[in-house]
Symmetry: C2
Subunit: 708 residues, 2 copies
């Protein structure tokens, strides 16, 4: 194949159209335009390979596109992988799966996009399943005889030879394939996000604390539970309702159950007056008891789920019905957003809880395409609805795909392994996703507090008590620690919000896995010292032996100044890979020299968080909830370390899309030191006028955060 | 579609050819003919449905064939499923998978054949992956609004509605579909086995005890280990060698490593003189160091595995090279058979340990087809090689498919959960497979003895010590119990061998799951009393609630007289579903009235085994190994219970295929009782002449087996 037909699609982004791709794809569905201006400000970059080195072959019904691989290259991304960070050597079967317990590549967000630590990325824009063989296949002509060792006699034998290509199995109908340049891995991801329209900026209240109440609570119980947060001095901004608010669930009606919610409008209003936004759970499958049913029936797929219709929302008529109903019954009375559940069923593991791949939809889409796209469809429809009201929303979704960085949704899972949840937080940063390691319940106080600490340093800090009725204070022995971290999150809101603003404008993820901030060679150095070679004889449990290489998939950056290294139940110390530079324990004040692996200890009262020397962190007091837009609160600018430094602060009204019309302010926070050693802080920005703050306090040369 | 084109293919077997199936399929590859004579002796049966009720639809690239389902019907089979017995309500994605940890349908033996407890079966004969939606999909037109309940308020809500069809996703190219009549479930399976050529009759020595030695043992160490069996008074017939016998492994050479096996021919001969057969481990991937390499290279697939060639054995030339090498270097010097490992890698979970689905083979087959067929190919090639010498073989294989009932191979897995292993033994009986719950190591003496007890009542009783170096006497505190059960197996050889002879002639599996011997209504009765309804509120761990229905997938029949109900570590009692009639505890003598569920206790020294009253069990002394063909030993005919009864006894030379020329004897063992209450035994059969026995002892009206 002539691969010289790659076209420059945006600065540093090249496209190859293979055969005749079907019209609906993640990119086409999202209907976004690249952020050309921001892309042009990125470093100029040449194509990462000679296009000649890319091969396209037909193999039966499918097309195999292959890309060269360097020997030590690592590959990240491929969507929301829960079980590993470096995908090199694995087949990634990128099918949506609500229950991805095995390391097959199936995931809640199956994005056919991998990012090399050499600083380029490859993305296939399709609504179909793609398999990426990330250096896990070896062609005869690429097999080097001299690399084959004897397992019987040679300790150098490895279960996997090093492959020299990525093979990608494309849909038979073809697809648009994109290559993103760097030069760094971080640049590749920013470029991808900007190409997909930039990152999302959530409403400020979305970054507060969330709580979901038990499913059968009525409005009185919900209001009482909300009030308990104020009485217990626990901040809370959002209360989520679970299936019980529907007049029927599994399948659902989208209509309020009158016995539990007789006056929804007043209920939502009262909640708002008390500082709580209301978020509604829903799933895609429409009950015969819903008023939408009759109209949606002819616009739905051939198969039902839980007995409910699976509407074809690629049809404008169906989308309009859904949107209008949601507008009238939820959005217009003040509902703040949704939790979009179960749009991710897997044909394999969940069986009857999803339509099959061969289901037929009136638009001509089949079940495979609809499953891969369903999560995106609901995100887009609800986002557009709120946007039409000039209100931002923020919510949860259990399925996503590519080109979703503009969507105000955070992924979650019914799986619940804490380490996987931390890894998911890291991995979500590679493909324009957000992830919440939501807390539901815990085996004990230790498990509880460790999960609560992690979730407070995540895109959405939520306790989901739908089934178990837990409260943040459910373990009295650690109530104070949990309160402390929820309040710390509230104090950090200006910093977090600024990180999201950079996501919106520059495509820089607000939460980042370590490869974003450490170069391959630095990581390799750290890994070389951390390899635990397990090459004992194969046993019944590990027939092929194992070589354990630490991936540093259990720590991450929040913004550019904070490094978070959570502990899980059973741990009171851990290793941390610290990037070069001077760092301080955010709450311990301990000083570390980075560029190496350190070992830290932390009792239950602490999650290890490190702040980079020279950072300036904007903070506010720990309010019980985000105040109404325009309310001004004190601002504290905290500078860490001995050397001069700088930070950023973004503000806007926090709720609307007026920022698109320029109604926002960027300020640079600069700390200088004069010859007497005295520090001074300076604020420079677009505007003198403050939207959110009424007093400014500088703190210089801190080594630790003052306790609240 | 006109489904009236179903053709009678054999008595009680109908075929529908859809589109143009590809030429290579399990049935075509096995090259077997239906056992017409035995089929004609089965009950006459009409088609199980009006053919009109079967629908064929095109859905994109695939074809969906659907069959009606009754409301309470259960579906068994779909190959070697490890995680459930009744497949109703599940999607079965029938792809070969070496690591089937999730309940997706993937398995070591992905046979698209389901058997209804209403007494019919449906099979798709194809080398491609088939998905069977076993009542797990619901079409809009089949959805009954009145069955949809409200999960919020109705305890009758169920996570899965009852579907009214099986949908089968066929390969795009079409396939031959077969329907098998009953009238009973057992008849369906016998019909399927007879259609595929009948069941396998292993050599008698194959039913003795097997031991596999650590991989790097040399011939001296192997002989010493074998000798230890005699010294410890543990019977043993077969010693298996693991990868270390190859001059290179992973990939392999099929050539003896001279440093460990300098004189293979003498080694095998010495072993045989001491009563041990030698079995050789191998896998499919050919090392550059093998003499076969150069010739096989152009006959191999586009991708290598562990660096080795993946030969295309659908090519006669490749098969001849493999066969000739094996003949000269192994079979001609006395090797008794093979363990065919790793012919089952999964693209999803095992990654680089299998060629990808898009691999291309010189014959035109692709990776998907080759993977689905690879296990069958090796079984057939090696079987044919031994058959050409008029020697029977018996061995292990990790991948199989349909039409394999004539193959002298027993499936196994690297997974190791004891309950799953018992369930696999049950499930293997539905689709013409055999399964060994091989023992490798144990957490403790209890785990050890429980596994050893199970394996002694299985098609292949083996300890696989390749990685851990365990011996049957590894846990001294239970050494006596393990010895007891290995010896009991040796005593039961005439009975076991007779059960296999019925498999060969009548297609009746020697090991059977409970649905073979209890009718749906009896099972339903038992289940009704055993349902533990778990309908508490959904929690974080089981979001959709669970209803636990016992499947009785943890007990099975051995022959038609013995019911085995193993215990696993941590249990000292259990429930047993006893079919109607009078039963005795084989070793306790306790009397039970069947047709209900009983509860039995058994300390470590016992596995619960029950013998049907009226049975006559042929036994021999517990010899250290099966004696050379023609050696005559004492025969004991043990009659159980008070009433008259009967049994069967089959004998032949135990080693060759001469039985095909009529060189075998069936005898009926009849016990009568006269008016004085005295019992008498009578032997009637084709022949007066004995091949294997030199004295006959009758024991009447026993309630328990006399201790050895």
């Amino acid at each position: 194949m002539d691969t010289k037909t790659w076209q420059l699609s945006a600065p540093g982004v090249w496209r190859l159209t293979i055969k005749k791709p079907q019209s609906i794809t993640p990119l086409s569905w999202m209907n976004v335009s690249p952020q050309e201006k921001a892309l042009q400000q990125m470093p100029q970059v040449a194509p990462p390979f000679d296009w000649d080195r890319i091969q396209l072959e037909e193999a039966g019904d499918s097309l195999i596109l292959s890309f060269p691989l360097d020997r030590t290259e690592k590959l990240y991304g491929t969507g929301l992988q829960l079980l590993r960070m470096n995908q090199r050597g694995r087949n990634r079967y990128l099918r949506v799966n609500s229950d991805p317990k095995q390391d097959t590549g199936e995931t809640h967000a199956p994005v056919p996009f991998y990012i090399s630590d050499l600083g380029y990325g490859v993305w296939v824009d399709t609504a179909r399943i793609v398999t990426m063989y990330c250096g896990s296949t070896m062609k005869q002509e690429d097999t080097q005889s001299e690399e084959i060792r004897d397992r019987n006699s040679d300790l150098g034998w490895r279960a996997t030879l090093v492959a020299s290509r990525v093979e990608i199995r494309l849909p038979a109908e073809g697809a648009d394939v994109y290559v993103f340049g760097g030069p760094t891995l971080a640049d590749v991801v920013s470029r991808y996000n900007l190409f997909c329209g930039g990152g999302v900026l959530p409403p400020l209240w979305g970054l507060g604390f969330w709580h979901r109440v038990p499913t059968l609570y009525n409005e009185q119980q919900v209001m009482e539970e909300a009030e308990q947060f104020r009485l217990h001095d626990f901040p809370c901004d959002v209360i989520g309702l679970e299936p019980g608010w529907h007049s029927q669930s599994y399948p659902v009606t989208y209509e309020w159950e009158k016995s539990r919610f007789p006056e929804p409008e007043q209920f939502v209003k009262k909640m708002e007056q008390n500082g709580f936004r209301v978020n509604l759970w829903e799933h895609p499958f429409v009950s015969p008891k819903s008023e939408l049913y009759a109209d949606l029936k002819p616009l739905s797929g051939s198969h039902t789920v839980w007995g409910g219709l699976a509407p074809d929302y690629s049809l404008t008529e169906a989308a309009n019905l859904y949107t209008k109903q949601h507008e009238q019954q939820h959005v217009n009375i003040g509902v703040s957003g949704y939790k979009l559940d179960e749009c991710d069923g897997s044909e394999l593991t969940n069986n009857s809880w999803m339509f099959p791949g061969h289901a037929k939809f009136p638009s001509g889409l089949d079940g495979e395409q609809m499953r891969q796209m369903y999560g995106l469809m609901f995100q887009k429809m609800t986002h557009d609805l709120f946007r039409s009201k000039n209100r931002r929303t923020y919510g949860l979704v259990r399925a996503s795909n590519a080109a979703a960085s503009t969507m105000p949704y955070v992924l979650y899972s019914d799986l619940y392994e804490h380490k996987q949840y931390i890894r998911a937080l890291c991995n979500s940063s590679f493909s324009g996703h957000l992830w919440t390691p939501e807390v539901r319940r815990a085996r004990n106080a230790e498990d509880w507090v460790r999960r609560m600490q992690t979730v407070c340093f995540s895109p959405l800090a939520m306790l989901n008590a739908w089934g178990d009725g837990t409260k943040p204070w459910s373990f009295p022995e650690v109530e104070g620690v949990v309160r402390h971290y929820i309040k710390l999150r509230m104090r950090l809101l200006p910093y977090l919000y600024t990180a999201f603003a950079r996501y919106r404008e520059l495509g820089i993820p607000p939460f980042q896995a370590m490869p974003f901030v450490i170069s391959p060679s630095e990581i390799a150095q750290a890994e070389a010292s951390a390899v635990e070679a397990v090459q004992q004889l194969n046993t019944t449990d590990a027939a092929y032996g194992k070589k354990k290489v630490r991936e540093w998939d259990d720590q991450y950056m929040v913004g550019d100044a904070l490094l978070v290294a959570p502990l899980v139940e059973g741990e009171d110390e851990r290793e941390v890979l610290l990037p070069a530079g001077i760092w301080y324990g955010l709450e311990t004040g301990e000083r570390y020299t980075g560029g190496c692996i350190i070992r830290v200890q932390a009792g239950l009262e602490r999650i290890p968080v490190f702040v980079k020397s020279g950072s300036v962190i904007p903070m506010t007091p720990a309010l019980p909830h985000v105040p109404a837009s325009g309310t001004r609160v004190p601002l504290e600018l905290v500078h860490f370390g001995a050397e001069p430094g700088e930070g950023l602060l973004y503000e806007d009204d926090g709720e609307s899309f007026d920022y698109e019309a320029g109604k926002y302010t960027w300020r640079k926070l600069t700390v200088t030191q004069n010859s007497d050693g005295e520090y001074a802080g300076e604020l420079t920005g677009d505007s003198e006028e403050w939207i959110s703050y009424n007093s400014i306090t500088w703190r210089f040369s801190q080594t630790r955060l003052e306790t609240i």
